[in-house]
Amino acid sequence: MNALLPLLVGWLLLPLILAFLAALLPALGRWLVLVSCLASLAIALLLLQDPLPDPLPIFQSPRVALQLDVYATGFVLANGLITLAVLLQSWSSPRHKLTWVLMMVLHGAINSVVLAADAISIYVAIELVAISAFLLVIDPARPGTFWIAFRYLLISDLAMLIYLIGVQQAYRSSGSFALADYGTLPLAATALMAVGLMSKAGVFLTGFWLPLTHAQAPAEISALLSGLVVTAGAAPLGRLQLVSPGLREVLLGVGLASAVIGIAAALVQTQYKRLLAWSTVSQLGLVLLVPAGAGVLCLAHGIAKGALFLVAGRLDSLDLSRMRHGGFPPASAIPSAIAALSLTGFPLLLGYGAKGALAADLELPWSQVVELLSIGTVAVFAQLVPWPGEANAAATVPQVVGPESQRSAGPGPWLLVAALVMLPLWLSQPPSGSAFGKSALTLAAGLTLGWGCRALLRDWRPPDLERFDDLINGFGVTALVVGLALWGLRGGWL
């Protein structure tokens, strides 16, 4: 076990060292990213075989340790796979010179976030994730990305400052920064840390920066953002939940609220990437519900959402009404369909095992609510499917036909979709017989709901809650809600 420590520290540092190399030797860039991804996949497989439940200490006092339990495995696997897919997708056309460097820094930082077991390492790693994500979002060719990148980093900085205030309170009461010592914390500490992390994870009101940012960023980067960067917030939040029982119940409510809000907002979108981004808000809400299963859920969501975004990057038009009427060529539609089905929990795909883990760990009635939410997710993706009577409306929409419509989706999405199909076999998640029936019902209900929403809410737009001021207010409101809920739980009147 002690021999493992240098290996792991070396693996954590590897992407950062290779990033440095890539900056010096740009020609090697993409190969170094490949090396980083493969190293992470290897470590993930190692962890799958032989997880270490006890934290591996780096220093004894103060306690700094690496936690390599089963919890971390899903995240590391997701990190390796998604980064690899984005790498393959942008192999021949990186957006700017530093893409490879930044991808490796992001990769290494996310690995660190997932494995860290103390509050300050998490802070540093999350800031590193934020900075590299910020730099990746900026697309010099599209000035529109400047504003959302600015907004993203500003909100991220604020969120982490809130988190730091919470950490300071925690240190004041417990004298340590290690998460394992955070079982009984003053209310303010837990609430503030949670709110900061929730914002990075993109849930509830604090996460409303997410839809615009993920929608406007270049598609490959959106894949990274929605698939991986949100896990940088979700993973530490899960660890915090595991040590702090009161927080877990509060986040149950917050997660469900976020899931519902995300689905509702996604149903009324007209642009494909915004729909996907709101779906991320919703799915991340679900991730919060069961901390023990967060790794698998994030893995399933990250792979599926990454595939969807990568396909979106190759489409001609992102307008949903155009996509419904011919703008979605089969080469892109098939991987998208498989990914979407996985998100809804279709058997034989990774999402099924993930949702199953979620439902198994929740008591009734919450597990029923989650299954109902799957209907909502299907409804969201039903926005892409024209219903049989819509052919008349198609005449008014100009057809999108061009040479680029026949382009394939690219290697990235196919890799991810293959993972979606093969990982369940590897992880041995056999579907039960009734699963297909239940899934068919869910699909039918969801399609009806989605078509119904489209028909009924044809021109209605929800109030715009994503303005900057609303985001800041969202922080305050969430902090109040979380604080009051925690107080109620401790006082016994909740």
């Binding site: 400047f146 500003l154 730091l164 300071q168 900057f468 800041i472």
Partner: protein, 106 residues
Amino acid sequence: MITILSGFIGVLLRRELLQKLLAVDVISTGVVALFVLVAARTGLTPPILQESPEAPSAQMADPFPHAVILTAIVIGLSVQALELVLLRRLARIHPMLRIDDFEAEP
């Protein structure tokens, strides 16, 4: 705490991006002060070992939060620097840098 609160109000109320950015910097300063406060529980002397044996090590400030907050200061500085670079680019689009102009676009 007052620093932090005024920083938050600044971020909310100010309409120009540069002022919002500086308000976040104010919050950051407040957080740094909070950490120094918690480090001062064990003493007020800077935690540097002196050569003379009668150094009052029992009254030294706790060095652990100091290390943490140094990291936070450096990170905060680099984030502010990056944001300022971006502000220059943004100023070419809307020279007044008012947030309402940026949010008016869909």
